[in-house]
């Protein structure tokens, strides 16, 4: 355990019980995020990315048919030693999250300004509506929203997807969390808008020195964003290392397959990884950069 790390995951296992027995979906994951570091977790659908983020968030531990074992340490605190309410106290303050589809994640019957007020109350329970509005307007400027007042008075369905995405980034960062989880942020948006909002997000987390765990099924998306990359395949980390190392010299066959699946701007559509090759189960490759 390294108390200087923002997030330190050791031998994390997760299984789901059902009437037909128990299925393990994470088979002993090791992953760490240093303060201010941006780390990506990349893998195909169903490989266990979202469940990993839900464990860090502390909600998976409350799912009755889920069994979590191993160690998840957030800023020196073992999450397993916390009660459910204590884990909840971290959420929205020390750890926050950005979702895939901003337009459906923002509650459609509340104005954006009211949502900001609610979120700010997580950190400052007595904050007034007016002050919340001021702070929200300030952070909206940081994500390049010029007419913050109009946005704060709007409902999410009145705003474009890209605008909602910026709102969500601002909302996730307004309480100055130590760790930001981003589960496929903006995948529901079109590619240029996604790229735009991601670069806004990068500027903001850089400025605030927020650690980020960025989840994606697309290596191309994380290239610009991440300092380090973990590749996950069927509940195992198969390769990890600095972004450049992964792109320049992918060692694991699965990583190579993922890389070949990155859509090229010159067209040809988005090729899928065609089959599950046996070689995907090769041992883990570490680019020797354990921090």
């Amino acid at each position: 355990m390294r108390p200087d790390l923002t997030l330190d995951i050791k031998n994390l296992r997760l299984s789901f019980r059902s009437w037909s027995g128990s299925t393990e979906v994470l088979h002993g994951i090791d992953l760490s995020v240093a303060p201010g570091e941006r780390v990506a977790l990349v893998g195909e659908s169903g490989s266990g990315k979202s469940v990993t983020s839900r464990i860090v968030l502390g909600t998976m531990q409350d799912v009755r048919h889920a069994r979590v074992s191993g160690q998840v340490t957030f800023e020196g605190t073992d999450l397993a030693k916390l009660a459910s309410v204590e884990r909840r106290a971290l959420r929205g303050r020390e750890i926050s999250m950005i979702f895939q589809d901003p337009s459906s994640a923002l509650n459609p019957v509340f104005r954006i300004g009211d949502l900001f007020h609610e979120v700010l109350k997580r950190r400052h329970p007595k904050i007034s509506k007016g002050e919340a509005r001021q702070r929200a307007a300030a952070i909206l400027q940081d994500v390049s929203i010029a007419d913050a007042e109009r946005v704060l008075s709007s409902y999410s369905f009145q705003l474009s997807g890209g605008m909602n995405q910026r709102v969500m980034i601002a909302m996730a960062l307004i309480n100055e969390p130590r760790l930001l989880l981003a589960d496929e942020p903006g995948t529901a948006l079109d590619v240029t808008v996604q790229a735009q909002t991601l670069s806004l997000m990068r500027d903001l987390v850089e400025q605030k020195r927020t650690s980020v765990l960025f989840i994606s099924h697309n290596l191309g998306v994380v290239r610009e964003f991440a300092d380090r990359i973990y590749v996950i395949y069927r509940g195992n980390i198969v390769e990890h290392g600095p972004t450049a190392a992964i792109f320049d010299a992918p060692q694991h066959p699965y990583t190579q397959a993922l890389l070949s699946a990155i859509p090229r701007l010159t067209g040809g559509g988005v090729p899928d990884i065609e089959e599950r090759s046996l070689s995907f189960n090769d041992p883990m490759i570490s680019h020797g950069t354990d921090i």
């Binding site: 929205g92 459906s104 923002l106 509650n107 019957v109 509340f110 979120v119």
Partner: protein, 340 residues
């Protein structure tokens, strides 16, 4: 389309519905076997008297002409004379309708005040014992009609344990001047707080019996809608921000679920009006039901048409109000209407 335009549109379509209803009931009432003139005058009346009466009632005219004459009078606010009470039908309705409306409105308030929180509680503890308990109880309440509950409640809470009065709207010892016909208003207007309490005391049992199924329905509906809402990303986001389960239930899940619930609850409210008939009979409530049953048995044509029309009108007005509330609560409707 502004809210006002929408409101006027609803008003217009309601008028058309009312005209349709008036036609239907006008013809149906005349198809029921029996000669209204003969029934009104009794078996000992002479043939001339009956013919005379049929003449006054325009019963010898073709039915289309009769309807035209009826509409002409209706346009002047005249529903004719009731043969049953020998008074203008309008006067009768003004006397009996408030009692029924008071009962139905009170039951409607109970339906919302108990049904929605129960549903929210059930959804918050979905799959746990409070949910199971509420679901069993609400299933029970919707599985029997209001008059069964009325009989049961009278037996338990008025007869065996006399906590509530069995019949009537207010203590017999009290005389309250008739202003609106709504006793809750008239007693306060007369400064009779004891009368107000007595009226509430008399209302509770019949209104509860009437609303019980509605409470169950509202609770089950709210639960179902909230559980759908719980699946939405917006709720996952609320959980990710660490809001407490209570706050998520009462605020983030409840409000979006209220909109679809309310529409159906509006229809349930209208159903209360129909169920009120039997409940009124059981509690000897001096409302529209006793009058309605009386005039049908008497084949009192004007009164039948008048009663049905006033009930339809109440039903339609309730629907317009609910529609209006929903459009205010739902920002999507409210804003899309203001924009264009």
């Amino acid at each position: 389309m502004s809210i006002l335009n929408r409101f006027l549109g609803r008003l217009l379509s309601s008028m058309i519905v009312l005209i349709g209803v008036s036609m239907l009931i006008f013809f149906i009432a005349r198809i029921i076997p029996g000669d209204p003139a003969r029934i009104a005058l009794g078996p000992r009346a002479t043939e001339e008297q009956v013919t005379q009466m049929r003449e006054t009632l325009n019963l010898n005219e073709p039915i289309i002409v009769q309807y035209g004459l009826f509409m002409r009078d209706l346009a002047r606010g005249d529903l004719g004379i009731s043969l049953y009470s020998n008074r203008p039908v309008i006067t009768d309705l003004a006397e009996y309708l408030p009692a029924t409306l008071e009962l139905v409105l009170f039951a409607g308030v109970m339906m919302v005040a108990f049904g929605l929180p129960l549903g929210a509680l059930s959804a918050r503890y979905r799959g746990q014992w409070p949910d199971s308990l509420i679901r069993v109880i609400t299933l029970l309440t919707v599985s029997a009609p209001a008059f069964v509950w009325a009989v049961g409640l009278v037996l338990v809470f008025a007869y065996f344990t006399p906590l509530f009065p069995i019949t009537g709207r207010i203590s017999d010892a009290m005389t309250i001047p008739h202003v609106t016909g709504f006793l809750l208003i008239d007693t306060l207007a007369a400064g009779r707080f004891d009368g107000f309490l007595s009226a509430i005391h008399h209302l509770i049992l019949p209104a509860f019996a009437l609303s019980l199924s509605g409470i169950g329905q509202a609770a089950r509906l709210t639960r179902a809608n909230m559980i759908t809402t719980y699946e939405q990303p917006a709720i996952e986001m609320a959980q990710a921000y660490g809001f407490s389960e209570a706050r998520i239930a009462n605020r983030f899940a409840f409000k979006p679920s209220l909109i679809p619930s309310l529409t159906i609850i509006g229809l349930d409210f209208a159903a209360l009006l129909g169920n009120a008939f039997l409940v009124e009979v059981i509690f000897a409530w001096p409302g529209l039901s006793r009058y309605g049953v009386g005039v049908i048995l008497q084949k009192d044509l004007n009164a039948i048409v008048g009663t049905v029309l006033i009930i339809s009108a109440t039903f339609l007005i309730a629907n317009i109000i609910v529609d209006f509330l929903v459009s205010i609560l739902n920002p999507r409707i409210r804003l899309s209407e203001n924009r264009s």
